[in-house]
Amino acid sequence: MRSRRNLYISLIMISAIAAVWIGLSLVVTNSYYQLMLTLVPIWAVLGLSWNLLSGYTGLVSFGHAAFFGLGAYTVTIALVQYDITPWLGIPLGMVVGTVAGVVIGYPTFRLRGHYFALSMLAYPMALLYVFVWLGYQEVALPMKRAAPGYYMQFSDYRVYIALAVALLVVSLLISLAIERSRFGLSLLAIKQNEPAAEAAGIDTLAWKMRAIMLSGALAAAAGGLYAVVQLVVTPDSVFGMLTSAQALIVALFGGVGTLWGPLIGSAILIPLSETLQANLGDKIPGIQGVVYGIAIILVILLAPDGIFWRVRDFLRRPRAAGLGPVNPIAPPLAASAPEPAPPQRQAILTVSNLSKSFGGLRAVADASFTVGDGEILGIIGPNGAGKTTLFNLLNGFLPPDGGNVSFTGHELIGLKPNRICRLGIGRTFQVVRAFARLSVLDNVVVGAYARTARDAEAVAAATAALAQVGLVGRAGALAGSLTNKELRLMELARALAGQPRLLLMDEPLAGLASHEIEDMLEVIRALAAQGTTVVIIEHTMRAMVRLAERFIVLDHGAILATGHPGDIVKNESVIEAYLGKKWAAIRAHG
């Protein structure tokens, strides 16, 4: 995925930060600054946990305080009521955080966008009221003079700093591992375009659940350590709005979707606000909140993805534009003359009486057809004919009102899109949404996850797919620098990385100039020659006439005609569909 070099750089940076931090802790004696050195890593960990869920998936959580608070209270209650040391209490809290992640995630993930955010807000607030009602207004951790070390109580403050740094390093390593693995890329794919991710074989719900479980565990760990350090826990300090906001702000300010973001954010914002609070807090109470508020407003307006990305984009920009080696697009592999079509092809996809209506509108009306193994089939029809709806039915995005779809013996109706992808059906979409800041290879590799559990194999499959479309020379380029045609090819490569048996292409030629169309047709022809069955949606036959052997004409959801281009063009109902019923009549009468 990412080069080894990047890995080493990241590891070195993490070690450096840890070393610097420990070094600072050895020289600083002021107790206030010592507290700060402890808090910054803790908030950074909370920010990292938020990033894990919201930064990567794009589902904004306003409720991470729920996990933080549960972790804090687990440690506290375990110590106060059951005399369990925080060394055990914190892992226990992490378990609680994980379970909370499942309990919260499962119902809430069914919600979209703003409903998700609002619901996530409700959880910590509800917990706050519950804990107040339970009588935990203010709980102090008791001093254990007999065996302080056993109870994670140290007179030397620097030990706390070391613990906080240790937790930070662990969190950074976890985030690093995730970012570099399919976990991170799958989450990013979900953020970028969830339907496309599903169609590429990614089980979006499973990944989201994994993300929230891990996120909950880390946030709870931060909360547990917070309790140990602060020695007093109140519902408001751990479940409060400001805590959730802090998680969000720290990550947002520093940079979403990257492990360095929360670190940068905490390192800048926490000392800033705490210092202001300490110096001006008496005269101007609430200065902390105002600073955070202004910070967020400025960030969202000026650098919506955070400082890290703004800086990186700025640094990367000249290189991408100027130096980019203008690699000629390598000719697609094995572009031999297409074999003469075997007279009889076995049907691998059979559609019977498929119907779908929206309200009173019949989008697909009793459609039946077959697709032969290895053929190139074109589906055409005027605007609004139901072509994309048909694809959405085949892919599993829409449940049909009636009918059957059978693919190599498997019944497709009722299966989720990612399952259908695993069975061997790939899909490209009209609108290409790429990860602009990642390389072409990273964009493509998510398509290979459905095929193999091993990351190295996935990379190999992705590279092979790139070679098939002729983009292998651009594998390392940033996707944001690609031309329209190259983006289309990249989208195609992503679908190919899953090694589909049947490929559904939705208007692959739209918006391409005529010479670009030629290149695209070449690529598709080569695919079919290698045995992939291709079904293409387009508006007219003009471009596809040289490509497809057979056409289906759709209008108002019903199949008007099937057959070879020459026959289709003379078919009266087809002419009627495109030109209008009266056309023939008018021409006949003049």
Binding site: P107, P285, G286, Q288, V290, Y292, G293
Partner: protein, 320 residues
């Protein structure tokens, strides 16, 4: 009195309290309804505008005593009403310079309709207002008391000479004012030309532009009205509830719960949704300890969002 009689008395008292408080919740939900339900803009700072309405009324009536000539019984309510137009202006310009960057035509058509930036931006605004309020107003709870605040009407309940219903006068007046204002809002939005223009702009911005409507200006006005209405509700709450700069948070979930319950896109629905939330809150005290009454609202909110996202009055076409 029989146990049943006692229970009935408590029940009716809670019911009436729910209606009275529900009327005010209804008004504040109607305000949010314009912004969230109709314009589909997420405003996280809605509670803070409620708070600003409270403090505006406070300073107008008590702090600077500018309405002395109206007397202590009428002044606070008029003050609350004045908060409306003042906060309207504030909301109008806030939208023009800040909020419009993440709403309307600049983000129309994007996948999430700009909700993510809206959430974050309004969160920032909320923090600034909350804490700015803390700096300006101090943290001591204030209230706008009227002579009616500590008086109540006593209505005998017919079934037993000993049973009676106590109606706090201040709350009753506040509820009545709420209903009147809500009614005026309804007429404005549904009957006036301005109201129809706003609805058209929110319904289909492209088509509205074809009609010759300045959609950006319509959004600003709608946003301002939503803020103004919420501010009035705040001023009314101030007459019976003490408040401090962080009070907005308590009401945010109430407002969103009411709007979602009532069904998106319907201001009338939002009002009824708020009313329902008020009833839920007060009736829940019959079975739950008072500290958990707000937790009950959260549970209701979560249930609505998951089970019936189109709310009670909304169209089933509303997708989650």
């Amino acid at each position: 009195m029989t146990p049943f009689g006692t229970f009935a008395e408590i029940f009716i008292q809670a019911l009436v309290a729910g209606i009275l408080i529900g009327a005010i919740y209804g008004l504040m939900c109607a305000g949010l309804g314009i912004i969230f339900g109709v314009m589909r803009v997420i405003n996280f700072a809605q509670g803070e505008f409620l708070m600003l309405g409270m403090y505006f009324t406070f300073y107008l009536v008590i702090g600077y005593d500018l309405l002395w000539f109206l007397g202590p019984a009428v002044g606070p309510y008029v003050g609350a009403l004045i908060a409306g137009p003042v906060l309207f202006v504030f909301g109008y310009f806030l939208h023009r310079f800040v909020i419009s960057r993440v709403t309307g035509t600049s983000v129309a058509g994007t996948e999430s309709e700009g909700h993510y930036p809206q959430l974050i931006l309004t969160l920032g605004i909320a923090l600034v207002l909350q804490n700015g309020g803390l700096i300006l107003f101090g943290s001591t709870p204030e209230s706008v008391r009227t002579p009616l605040s500590s008086r109540a009407w006593e209505l005998p309940l017919l079934y037993n000479a000993n049973a009676a219903l106590f109606l706090n006068k201040a709350r009753v007046v506040a509820a009545l004012v709420s209903i009147v204002v809500a009614g005026a809002l309804y007429l404005l939005i549904n009957r006036s030309r301005l109201g129809k223009t706003l609805r058209a702009a929110a319904d289909n911005a492209a088509a509205a532009t074809y009609m010759g409507i300045d959609v950006d200006r319509a959004y600003r006005i709608a946003f301002g009205i939503g803020i103004g209405i919420t501010a009035i509700a705040g001023g009314l709450v101030a007459t019976y509830n003490p408040f401090q700069p962080y009070i907005g948070l308590d009401f945010v979930i109430i407002m969103y719960a009411g709007v979602v319950l009532g069904g998106m896109g319907s201001i009338l629905g939002a009002f009824w949704g708020g009313m329902t939330i008020g009833l839920v809150q007060q009736l829940s005290t019959l079975v739950l300890p008072t500290q958990l009454q707000n937790a009950a609202i959260f549970v209701v909110f979560l249930l609505i969002v998951m089970v019936r996202p189109q709310g009670l009055f909304g169209r089933a076409t509303e997708r989650i």
